[in-house]
């Protein structure tokens, strides 16, 4: 299977890459290529220009702990996110999600920025990110801007990154003490896309009462979504079995899942409850 013909550019700086994107029509950014090339081989995507950003000298592959956030370079591979000790400690939800992507070869090559910009609603990292409410930092020809998570994912395969902008960093606000996070994916086979993916970040006080919580759902709407009624229900409650069970029952209220060969709408609506309960339990167990 061979992609349709395209012009290939391998710029050596971010500036140059943005300039090419700005001047060319129908250009696509190539990072790890584990989603884009698959689409191009099937001719579901036929960009006329590819801008390979893996050869630029600006360092976009890093994990940095800032004062109030964890900063991930957009070209950080899934394999690093899965294994990085700082991530495992601060945001196990991201390691959970990265470890469930595809297989080792895909995790070696695929990048966190690529996965988020591809914006497949069933992908693991976009869903996990949605529970952490990060800022997506993008650079364009004139300026850099930060896009809040709620505005980043617009539709299936669509983000608010403009055609001449490149995602450079993801800034994830650090969670306070007594917080925990987790992501669980439900799929028929290991490495498949999620039938339902659930992320959760819980912040407890010293008595185990929920100060704040974010629950994200993947593969159940055109973008990853938050289970807001469950979140609202849990705030101020002690996160015991009955509260988590009740919250899980409400978790599918905002969902509008599709029916496809991986699962029917009804099945997904039922599974949202099951996996919200399991993910909340795991996140709470990590908070203690």
């Amino acid at each position: 299977m061979t992609p349709k013909k395209f012009d290939y550019y391998a710029p050596t700086s971010l500036r140059e890459a943005i300039k090419i994107l700005h001047t060319k029509d129908d250009a696509k950014v190539l990072a790890g290529g584990q989603s884009l090339l698959a689409l191009m081989k099937l001719r579901l995507a036929t960009p006329s220009v590819l801008v390979d950003i893996t050869r630029i000298n600006d360092d976009l592959s890093f994990v940095k702990r800032g004062k109030d956030s964890l900063i991930l370079g957009s070209l950080t591979p899934h394999d690093v996110i899965e294994r990085n000790e700082t991530i495992k400690k601060l945001f196990p939800i991201l390691a959970d999600a990265a470890s469930k992507i595809g297989d080792q070869q895909i995790r070696n090559r695929g990048t966190v920025g690529g996965s988020c910009c591809h914006a497949d609603p069933a992908a693991d990292l976009p869903t996990a990110m949605t529970a952490l409410d990060p800022l997506f930092v993008v650079r364009g020809p004139k300026r850099e801007r930060s896009i809040p998570c709620a505005k980043f994912f617009v539709d299936t395969f669509t983000t608010s990154v403009s055609k001449d902008e490149i995602l450079t960093e993801i800034r994830i606000p650090l969670l306070p003490r007594n917080s925990g996070s987790a992501y669980i994916k439900h799929s028929r086979r290991e490495g498949d896309f999620a039938i339902v993916g659930v992320g959760a970040a819980v912040i407890l006080d010293s008595k185990g009462v929920c100060k704040d919580v974010r629950i994200s759902l993947g593969a159940v709407a055109p973008t990853p979504i938050r289970a807001k009624s469950s979140e609202k229900y849990l705030k101020g409650k002690k996160l015991n079995e009955s509260a988590i069970g009740e919250a899980a029952e409400k978790a599918n209220e905002e969902a509008d899942p599709p029916s496809d060969m991986h699962g029917s709408r009804e099945y997904r609506l039922a599974m949202i409850k099951v996996f919200t309960r399991r993910t909340l339990n795991l996140a709470v167990s990590r908070a203690k």
Partner: protein, 174 residues
């Protein structure tokens, strides 16, 4: 600018494969696996599914396993690649190859080149993996014959061999 190419233009690509420098020509859209097989005549790397699922085309690129059907040949410019042809040294099989032979880790052999490369990557990182770790390490490589039992056995045995000979640090034939 490393490379800017026009449509239909043939690109010259230089990379190191199994310790030797190769140069070859390809279109920007040529997949790396076809470049290796058709242009460099390194046909040990197999094309299985051609869609990125089966892992038969797995190679090491700059020390990490990748599926060479999921990369463009132009992305291998200046890369350091190891294919299955790079495993044996001086007519002696690599311990992983020996272990697959001794433990019946292959039947038809089609998936084997990729399976060997994934095993090598796994054992370099984790010289003494558990069965679960082995199964996870080769999850990107499909085998239609063996049912994986003997492959897992082979990887385990290969780990023992490599630990014995101190090769687990990642020395492979150059």
């Amino acid at each position: 600018m490393v490379r800017s190419s026009l449509k239909d233009e043939i690109v010259q690509i230089t990379c190191r494969v199994n310790g030797k420098t190769y140069q070859g020509a390809a279109e920007p859209r040529t997949l790396l696996v076809y470049f290796l097989r058709d242009e460099l005549n390194l046909t040990g790397t197999h094309v299985g599914c051609d869609t990125g699922h089966c892992g038969a085309c797995t190679i090491l690129m700059d020390g990490k396993t990748v599926k060479s059907c999921m990369l463009l040949a132009v992305q291998a410019q200046d890369a350091d690649i190891t294919t299955v042809e790079g495993l044996a040294k001086d007519n002696k099989l690599h311990p992983i190859q020996e272990a697959f032979w001794e433990n019946h880790g292959l039947q038809c052999g089609y998936c084997t080149p990729g399976m060997l490369m994934s095993s090598l990557f796994l054992l370099q990182r984790n010289p003494d993996p558990t069965e679960e770790e082995i199964r996870r390490g080769i999850e990107g490589n499909l085998c239609r014959c063996t049912g994986y039992v003997n492959i897992v056995k082979s990887v385990k045995a290969a780990g023992e061999k490599m630990r014995e000979s101190g090769k687990a640090s990642g020395k492979i034939s150059k």
